[in-house]
Amino acid sequence: MNPEPLWLTFKLATITSVILLVLALPLAYWLAFGKFKGRGIVESLIGMPLVLPPSVIGFYLLLAFSPSYWFGAWIESVFGLRLVFSFPGLVIASVLYSLPFMVYPIRAGLQSLPPSLREASYTLGKNEWETFFKVLLPNCKPAILTAFVITFAHTVGEFGVVLMIGGNIPGVTKVASVAIYNEVEALNYGAANDYAMVLFAITFVILLLVYSVNNRLLRVRQPS
């Protein structure tokens, strides 16, 4: 078994999860406590990757990234970068595709904190950002951990989008899920099984870890 597709998969999942964590923290805070018009629209847009088939996202990204259309042409002329069939293109696609998996758990975590926590912090003279980083976030560690791990796992499982915009290039866009698909098509069930078993095992271990850790953290917070 060539380990390259696996390595590429975990690299993609790690980079995507880190980028999304940075993007999702302010976004989740805004959604949890912000008062603004058009909340429904913003929430719908963020949640769409949950229900849209990956082929819809893949199709529009294929057109958007193409140098024949304005966005792709603009990126190529300004940055000299062609996003389709490239690793950065996969990262952008994954960030879009996994967005709700990061935002929703963090928002839920923030909303489940007692309002008195924020109020006390304000009363003690902390401003909004200090309150967010020093009081609220440390109190919803389980939610953040869950969000990060689910995002990671979801990106590991990405297939449809990569199949459409990846171009299956070894070492660049050939991730494990696509490698499995190819091996099955080429009737190499043994090789497909090797990749699949690794993904199966690693996904289980990741989830097992997060749930064990979360259970412990939650028990500490709710002494019986």
Partner: protein
């Protein structure tokens, strides 16, 4: 009374469900999908029977057939995959070649006069699409062409692999790549007319692409057996041959 009436309707309903369907399903390699539309129309007109067509890459269809997909005839892009099915007992008859395919170099924007295999090394050609050579015979042939011209090493880094001939065509026509390899039958189809320029590559630079079909197993009393055989034979008829030639097959 009401119960009896209901029971009667129920029986009629059941009878409707169990009426044996004679409509057969033809698993079709992506490169033959457009020509198959025409073959299907000609067959339906001649026989008065209907058929369904399922399109995919030959590799994927072979896997599905091996795992029990309810297809009746498999029209492959090569001979290797039907042979595989025959060896595994999926058919009582050996596969037969119905056409020889040709490879083209195709570009959306490069003018026909400039289009040749050497232009692929040019800096303005950044990406080249090719059907996955591991599962698509046209991709395998394209690699043979590149190697015979000693170009493979020079352009290897530019290659992107389509899952099938159809996805490769999509990469080319959407302008995501500057050029790509494909099947002559695709560029000659009405659907792809005016989608850029192409040249036919020298067929001595690659092993002939012998496209074979295979009649898949049926039980002796299957209602689909007769139509399947009829369609399978139609594929090798003079009428079908003429349609294949229209789409550039030899």
């Amino acid at each position: 009374m009401n119960f009896h009436l209901f029971f009667l309707f129920f029986l009629v309903f059941l009878a409707g469900c169990s009426k044996p369907s004679e409509k057969i399903v033809v698993a079709t390699a992506a490169n033959v999908q457009y020509v198959m539309k025409e073959i299907k129309a000609a067959f339906e007109k001649e026989s008065g029977k209907e058929i369904d067509i399922v399109v995919g890459s030959s590799g994927k269809l072979t896997t599905q057939i091996r795992e029990g997909a309810p297809f009746d005839v498999f029209v492959s892009a090569d001979t290797k995959y039907p042979q595989e099915i025959f060896k595994n007992g999926g058919s009582a008859e050996k596969p037969k070649v119905y056409a020889l395919g040709s490879v083209v170099l195709w570009s959306k924007n490069i003018p026909e006069a400039e289009l040749n295999i050497d232009i692929l090394t040019d800096d303005k050609v950044k990406k080249i699409a090719i059907p996955n050579p591991e599962t698509a015979p046209y991709g395998e042939a394209a690699i043979q062409v590149l190697k015979s011209k000693n170009l493979f090493g020079k352009i290897e880094k530019k290659l992107v692999f389509g899952e099938s001939i159809a996805q490769t065509a999509q990469y080319i026509t959407s302008g995501n790549v500057e050029a790509g390899f494909n099947a002559l039958s695709i560029v000659l189809s009405p659907e792809m007319k005016d989608q850029g320029n192409y040249i036919i590559l020298d067929s001595t630079d690659y092993k002939p692409i012998e496209q074979a079909a295979i009649l898949l197993n049926h039980s002796a009393d299957s209602p689909k057996k007769e139509t399947s055989e009829q369609f399978y034979n139609f594929l090798y008829s003079q009428k079908a041959k003429a349609i294949f030639q229209k789409y550039g097959y030899k």
